[in-house]
Every structure is written in structure tokens, then in C-alpha cells.
């Protein structure tokens, strides 16, 4: 069987046979295929008086008047259910887990374990885990299923349809709205979803800006901060509502930053014009509620939680060691925090906060637990079994104001993505440079934003 010559001559022959019309061939071929399909379909399908509900629903969901309000309303409702629903189980879990901590301490005392071992295992590893579980599990177990329901219904492509004009304006791809939505679950998943964008330039833009969507590891922190601070001043009845609106507002800010950064990238590092865009709006499907619940709770929630715990356990131990290893009369932790402090102050944060973010590189979930541990382990012991106690720790012992909370929140929204996401970006883009940029861009945005807000608020004398 030979081979090269006969194949190349075949191609030449093909060109010869068909002549200058080769450019038309695809049209004619596709045309024939569609015609065949049409005639087969015509004689095998019968329909009787169908009411096209999808069309009617789309008319409202993508309408000029209702399109955006419905999107905002759904976002707010999902967040509201998450926040309200998570309150009670969160504090129950915290109570339970810290009750166990007390029992563990009793046990360690009973067997005369060394102070050091008790500190490392109970105050470090166990407390880290307890925090991650009680802060993260309830909101995730509520948010994931709700989000999955919307996803399975077929709502996400409509979001992309509504928002596309913005993305086009930013020189980005309309499907970036889809990858962004996936980022709510997990930024690493969002980065992988970027594969659906064909144009390498636009895929890169979507990848680099995915971190501006708060992932599930960051949502609980945002929710906790919002619940403690923003709603601290309002009456109990409005607490969840105020916290909800705050978090929803942050998501909108995140989307605005995404668009702005995409636009800037299009004008600088990733010049180009938007590539072609087609998006199918699939029929709405009735989600299989039972399966959604089982899958999103068992698969997604447990998976993300397990990952957080695996990282939180050693991180908790290490933080405890750093907080209790003294150089002179200050701990290593306080030393590093003190070193970071001057810069952090410009950003409206303090050294401990910035350090917690840095330690949280492996997983965003542990930023807040690390912060609390480093605050607590240095000072007086307290039972952190409620948000009230947390408020007390932050405000009374560490001088937080609402501005500190705001700047922390903004930095939660805009800083380097977690290690897993960075690793995923490196794997997807096969480039260390773009991985580095994916960390640098959101960090710079976060630093600039925090400094600006801090100085603006202080300048106006609002704090």
C-alpha cells in the first residue's frame, strides 16, 4: 500500500475534479445533508397544538423591563435563602463542635498530655477544622443545591444572553458569563469551563478574570463579615436582609470589575476584536429535584468541604505553632504580622488580616479561620461559638471598624485565586506567565481598591 504520492495526487485530483468551485463544496454538502434531514423529519414527526411555554418564559426573562430585575432578584433570593437558612445550623454546629473541643481539652488534661500537644492538636488542628466546618458547611449545603437548580433549569444561558452586550463592549466573549457563573461554585471549575470559549484571546480574558467572582470558599467569609458588621447596626428583623443586599452588591461589584478588567486587558495585554459568538438557549427542563439535592450536597459540598478540611487541619496546627513559638517576647506570628502591618494599614487592614490572606493561598476557605486563630491564640481564650462573640473579638479586642470589614471584604473579592485555581490555570494555559498574571492582576486591583476606599472614607471623615 503506497502512499505519499498517491495521497497527494489524490488531493490534487480532488481539486482537479471539482475545479475552482471547491470553495462552494461545503455549502452544497451541508445543504444536501440538511435537506435530507428536513424530509426525514417531515415524515416522522407529528405535532399537535403546542403551546410554546419556553418562548413565553423567555419573553419575560429576557425582556427589556424584566430581564435585569429578575436576574438581580434571583441572585438576591438565592443569597437570602442561603444567609437566613445558614444562621441557625451554623451556630448549632459551632456550639456542638466547641462543646467537643472542651471535652477534648478535659481529656488531654486527664491524661496529663503536654501543654504543647494539647495546643497543637486541639487549639490548632481541631479548632481550625471546627471553624471551617461550622462557617462553611451550612451556606454551602444551601447555596450549591439552589445554584444547581438554576443551572439545570437552563437559566444560565439566559444570563449570558442578557449580559452579552456588556461583554462584547469589554471585548470579551459572551460565554464568559457562563464561566463566571461556574466560578460561583469554584474558581477552578470556572477556569476549566473557559474551554467552551474558542478564541484563545477571549478564553484567556475569561480565565484571568474568573477570580473576581466570589467562589464558595469565599462566600461564607463574605456572609459572616456582612452579618457581623453591615447588619450590626440594624434591627434584628432586617439583619439577614441587610447582609443579603450587601453580599449581592458585592457580587455586582465583582461583575463590574470583571468587565472593567476584561476591557483593560483587551486594550493592553490582549488586544483584539471580539470573535464570533453563538449561544444556544436550550429548552427549559424540569430539574430532578431529588437528584440535584443528593448530588450537590454529596458531591460538590462534601468535595469542597473535604478539600478545605485537608488544608485547614495542618494550617491550623502550623498557625498555632507560629503563634506560640516565641522569639524574645513576641511570637513569630506577631512578628510577621507586625512586619506586614504598615502596608496593611494603608489598605485599611491590619498585619494579621493580610497574613491570613497569605496563609490562605492553599484554600480561600481558611483565611477567616486563620485570622481568628491568630487573633485568639495570642491573646485571651474565648469561646467563639457565635457571631456575637466574633464581633466582640474583632471590634473590642482588635479595633475593627466597619471600614476594616469593608476593606477586608473587598480584598476577599479581589486577591490572588487559591492554589488549586492557579494550578488549574497553569495546566489549562500551559503557561507559568499567565498563571502569574492571574494572581497578580486581581491582587493589584484589590490593593488599589482597598487603598482608595480606605483613604477616601478616612478623608471624608466617615470613620
Amino acid at each position: 500500500m503506497n502512499s505519499d504520492n498517491s495521497m497527494s495526487s489524490l488531493l490534487k485530483e480532488a481539486q482537479g475534479i471539482i475545479g475552482p468551485q471547491q470553495g462552494q463544496m461545503r455549502d452544497r454538502i451541508v445543504n444536501s445533508i440538511y435537506q435530507t434531514a428536513e424530509s426525514i423529519a417531515a415524515s416522522t414527526v407529528s405535532t399537535s397544538g403546542k403551546v410554546d411555554w419556553d418562548r413565553k418564559i423567555d419573553k419575560i426573562i429576557t425582556s427589556k423591563i424584566w430581564g435585569f430585575p429578575i436576574m438581580l432578584a434571583l441572585l438576591t433570593v438565592v443569597l437570602w435563602i442561603t444567609i437566613t437558612g445558614a444562621n441557625v445550623p451554623s451556630s448549632l454546629l459551632a456550639e456542638g463542635l466547641f462543646w467537643i473541643e472542651a471535652k477534648l481539652t478535659d481529656f488531654f488534661m486527664a491524661v496529663n498530655a503536654s501543654e504543647w500537644l494539647h495546643g497543637f492538636l486541639v487549639l490548632g488542628v481541631y479548632r481550625g477544622l471546627a471553624w471551617v466546618v461550622s462557617v462553611m458547611l451550612p451556606p454551602m449545603a444551601i447555596f450549591f443545591p439552589l445554584f444547581t437548580l438554576l443551572e439545570d433549569l437552563g437559566y444560565l444561558p439566559r444570563v449570558a444572553f442578557n449580559l452579552d452586550r456588556f461583554f462584547k463592549g469589554a471585548g470579551a466573549h459572551g460565554k464568559q458569563a457562563l464561566t463566571m457563573s461556574m466560578g460561583f461554585g469554584c474558581n477552578a471549575a470556572g477556569v476549566i469551563a473557559c474551554r467552551i470559549i474558542e478564541s484563545p484571546r477571549e478564553r484567556l480574558i475569561a480565565t484571568l478574570t474568573n477570580a473576581f467572582v466570589p467562589c464558595n470558599g469565599r462566600f461564607p467569609t463574605l456572609i459572616a463579615l456582612a452579618t457581623i458588621f453591615i447588619s450590626g447596626s440594624v434591627a434584628v428583623t432586617f439583619k439577614s436582609a441587610a447582609a443579603t443586599l450587601t453580599v449581592a452588591g458585592l457580587v455586582v461589584v465583582g461583575i463590574a470589575i470583571t468587565l472593567l478588567v476584561s476591557f483593560l486587558l483587551t486594550k493592553t495585554l490582549l488586544r483584539g476584536i471580539p470573535s464570533s459568538f453563538t449561544l444556544e438557549l436550550p429548552p427549559y427542563r424540569k430539574p430532578q429535584v431529588g437528584q440535584v439535592l443528593i448530588r450537590s450536597v454529596l458531591d460538590r459540598t462534601i468535595f469542597v468541604l473535604a478539600r478545605a478540611m485537608i488544608i485547614a487541619a495542618p494550617a491550623g496546627g502550623i498557625v498555632w505553632i507560629l503563634a506560640n513559638t516565641m522569639i524574645g517576647d513576641t511570637s513569630i506570628l506577631a512578628l510577621v504580622a507586625g512586619w506586614l502591618d504598615p502596608f496593611a494599614r494603608h489598605m485599611g487592614l491590619d498585619g494579621f488580616i493580610l497574613m491570613a490572606f497569605i496563609c490562605g493561598l492553599p484554600a480561600n476557605e481558611i483565611v477567616f479561620p486563620i485570622l481568628i486563630m491568630s487573633y485568639v491564640s495570642g491573646g485571651a481564650m474565648m469561646e467563639l461559638d457565635s457571631l456575637k462573640a466574633l464581633r466582640q473579638l474583632l471590634v473590642e479586642q482588635h479595633g475593627w471598624t466597619w471600614l476594616t470589614a469593608l476593606c477586608t471584604t473587598l480584598f476577599v473579592l479581589c486577591h490572588w485565586p487559591c492554589g488549586t485555581t492557579l494550578f488549574t490555570i497553569q495546566r489549562e494555559q500551559k503557561s507559568w506567565y499567565w498563571m502569574f498574571m492571574a494572581a497578580l492582576i486581581p491582587t493589584l486591583v484589590g490593593i488599589v481598591l482597598c487603598i482608595a476606599v480606605n483613604y477616601l472614607v478616612r478623608g471624608l471623615g466617615l470613620v
Partner: protein, 78 residues
């Protein structure tokens, strides 16, 4: 002067006549089923006026103005 798909008002039908593009852009549009003779209905516009959703052979597909303007059509009315 033939109208192009992007000029078709929402709720109206049109027949595809020709695709004014070449290469991969044309192939993509053909792939979606926009071959000459296909009936297409504009079913809805995004709240911001672009893109527009079209019913192409039973699937609802959103096209940006740029893509829709490559598709030459003849109007069919409602």
C-alpha cells in the same frame, strides 16, 4: 438591496438566501443550520438590544449583530 438577518424584527420570519462570509465564519453559520432556503424566526432580543435569539430549525440560538449581518435573507412577514 437584500435585508440581512439582523434587520428582521422580533416575531418575524425570514428565508436565508446567502451567507456573506467565508472560511470558518461561514462554516460555523452553516453548521447552525443557516443554509439557503432555511426559515428563520427572530424570537427575542437581549434587553440591551444585542444579541438576538433566532429559531433556527427548532433550536433557539443567539447571534450577535455582527454574525447576523452576514446572513442575507428575504422577509416573510409574520
Amino acid at each position: 438591496m437584500c435585508p440581512t438577518l439582523n434587520n428582521i424584527p422580533v416575531g418575524c420570519n425570514a428565508l436565508v438566501k446567502k451567507i456573506n462570509a467565508s472560511g470558518i465564519k461561514k462554516r460555523r453559520l452553516l453548521d447552525l443550520g443557516l443554509v439557503p432556503g432555511t426559515k428563520v424566526e427572530a424570537v427575542g432580543r437581549s434587553p440591551l438590544g444585542d444579541p438576538t435569539a433566532y429559531n433556527i430549525r427548532g433550536a433557539v440560538i443567539a447571534l450577535r449583530n455582527e454574525e447576523a449581518s452576514m446572513v442575507q435573507v428575504s422577509k416573510l412577514g409574520n
